[in-house]
Symmetry: C2
Subunit: 227 residues, 2 copies
């Protein structure tokens, strides 16, 4: 009985151990990494493209794009001119640490400051698989509805920042932003929150500023540690 339990624990933590290796690999090259998660169509690729365009003169940025099929998103990101590695998950509903490990092997990590990982569009499964990144980002979008924190709590409770995209269509949907915020605050009171529109650009500056400070804080923390 005891043996079975210990075997199960080993299997569960295999992904986490590989995630720690990914983190060490990133830190060895001084690359700050974020994992971007969302429902299908919430705007992961749009936010990444906007972010790369805004920050690529300040930081050397790379991307990993996880998808079930096609290179539609990876192509959009690569069109910004940054190095992009596509991970075809072969039907799997999320990225995991072994997939990121494989992707990292194809990236020139010593020449990057920031790595943006786009997860598979899914509001359930990605929450269960650590990748080894430094920050986890969730994108919600207005058309999905204001009840999503209540209905998909696991995704909301462990992220560091929450983007609410498509605020340009707030008027067209019955979206109560206070009800949404209350649901988020119960689960995750300290997360950073960025209502914005990738389409109109409204609110993007605050997101860029947060990410800029996170990357700079990481770099200066490392410099301090090296002294």
């Amino acid at each position: 009985m005891k043996k079975v339990v210990s075997v199960v624990e080993d299997i569960l933590s295999a992904n986490d151990r590989l995630a720690e290796l990914n983190r060490s690999r990133l830190d060895r090259s001084g690359v700050f990494a974020i994992n971007v998660m969302a429902s299908p169509g919430a705007g992961k690729t749009s936010l990444i493209v906007r972010t790369v365009e805004a920050l690529k003169t300040e930081f050397r940025i790379g991307a990993v794009n996880g998808d079930l099929a096609t290179t539609i998103d990876a192509d959009r990101i690569a069109n910004t001119g940054i190095v992009t590695v596509q991970v075809n998950t072969g039907g799997a509903c999320h990225l995991d640490a072994p997939m990121l490990q494989s992707a990292l092997a194809h990236l020139p990590l010593d020449e990057l400051d920031l790595l943006i990982v786009e997860n598979v569009g899914n509001l359930v499964c990605p929450a269960g698989f650590k990748l080894g990144v430094h920050r986890n980002i969730l994108i919600a979008s207005v058309p999905e509805g204001d009840d999503k924190p209540y209905k998909y709590p696991v995704m909301y409770q462990d992220v560091d920042a929450l983007v609410l995209n498509k605020i340009d269509v707030l008027a067209a949907f019955d979206f109560n932003i206070d009800y949404f915020r209350r649901g988020v605050e119960i689960l995750n009171p300290n997360l950073a929150f960025f209502p914005l529109s990738c389409k109109t650009g409204e609110g993007l500056a605050a997101w860029f500023e947060w990410l800029r400070n996170e990357v700079r804080g990481y770099v200066s923390g490392r410099t301090g540690a090296d002294r």
Copy 2:
């Protein structure tokens, strides 16, 4: 080596075998069942509520509602006055045949004509688990984007009917309906397609008519078989 392969096959087909039992159970009571799948926020509950309101005088309808957490959706459906069973998946990203089997045990099947099953909001995992229903329905929505058939092909290729919800906001989104349709037709040329808006009611009549005919065809087919 051969033994391992056969064990894996057994595990994979266990769900399908239970799905067949579910189908037999439904057929024994003459209940036509549909499985409604979609991304989070595409409008599963809204379409179900609209459908129940339109058809509840013609058919005796029951519902099964799968969710990770909360009874928000189940309560909305139950408010229409029909018998509703909530399945809390305990974090699982999809319904499976054993879950539906448990739910069926709580329903007065002999008193129903139509059972509507609402799956967990997810555009990946539900496709892999047959439930034993008679028709599978997928709801896409305009704000998700017109590239979803290309990026989530497995969900699109096995469904019997596709609803495109939220067409009232078509003008606010860069949604190319021809591109969307082409992606669908490559994967699944014979499916029934219903562009509509649960909010304004536009297009709902065609969906009601299709479902009405499916239920009636099932009932008359059974009557024929009994003769």
